[in-house]
Amino acid sequence: MNKRNIIFILLILTGIAGFFTYFQSLPSLLEKKPTLVTGKILTRPMEIDNFELIDQNNKAFNNKSLEGGWTVLFFGYTNCPDVCPTTIYKLAEVKNELKEDLPSTTLNTVLVTLDPDRDSADRLDEYIGYFDDGMLGVTGTYENIQSFTSSLSVFYQRINKEDGYDFNHTASIFIFDKDGSLFATMSPANTIDELREDFYTILNNF
């Protein structure tokens, strides 16, 4: 075999090796973001407008409050006897499991009321303290709640009844990343197993 042939064979081998390397890395090049069962991860985390609300301890709840850990936030009101406590319990259970499995991850849960007339900080303290004292209950002026909901495209509508009123409102659970940007949305209508799976998908991959 002459020198030229050896070089030729080496070139072919290098080509084949290169080809294999390329195809091996191809799946990871094509790989997409993980997807959620109950909702959606935003293509790009979205910064949200400045907001000023207060929590059940009369402490400020604003953009800074979302930073440092993951935040799970949903809207409701304390006169909602069925769906709100149910969502609180589902989230509390997932949060407790995550605390054991991923102790270094901080996951804060927040209920923002749509009913500031009835839900004062004191009322939220009583309500949240009863169902999950590890959670934040947030209220504010009517205008501040409205501007916060509109920055998240949350719809809500007061429905008057014979005795009192209820709200129809956007059901989504909002997930904020450690920078306080909106990262994903989920639906509370799903089972606790599906919600758990989605939280693990997010916290294990990002």
Binding site: P81, D82, V83, E93, H169, A189
Partner: protein
């Protein structure tokens, strides 16, 4: 799975009745139970009352197009040989204005008025007051 408030009558079997407790000063509570129609005719629940609340309504929580809402139902129909489960996030009882303090682990009475082919009948069930539970 909790199993409480079992009652049966000619047509209906009630099971797993519970009321979700709420913090002091709450005016509105929710209640759940399984209602099995063991007869071969459909049955209409006409109204529900309770010894512990001034008013009881039948409601349905639903999420439609991403919007969460509650709807009041006048009656509840249970087809023959079938079971209807009132559970968190779906059909439930809305219990309003407690007549006395509703305490965890206590019992409250639910009185169910239902219509068969012949007449209106009454069935009672104890419901256990519980704080947690989501299924």
């Amino acid at each position: 799975m909790i199993s409480f408030g079992q009652e049966s009558f000619a047509e209906l079997e009630l099971d797993n009745a519970w009321v979700r407790s709420a913090p002091p000063n709450s005016k509105i509570f929710s209640g759940y139970l399984n209602i099995k129609n063991i007869s071969s005719d459909k049955i209409l629940i006409k109204s529900i009352k309770s010894n512990a609340f001034e008013k009881v309504e039948i409601h349905s929580s639903l999420i439609e197009d991403g919007i969460s809402s509650m709807r009041r139902l006048e009656t509840l129909e249970i087809t023959e040989n079938s079971e209807l489960k009132l559970k968190p996030g779906g059909y439930h009882l809305m219990l309003m204005n407690p007549k006395k303090a509703i305490k965890e682990k206590n019992l409250v009475e639910l009185i169910i008025y239902y219509e068969t082919k012949e007449r209106i009948k009454i069935l009672r069930s104890d419901a256990l007051v519980l704080r947690d539970g989501y299924e």
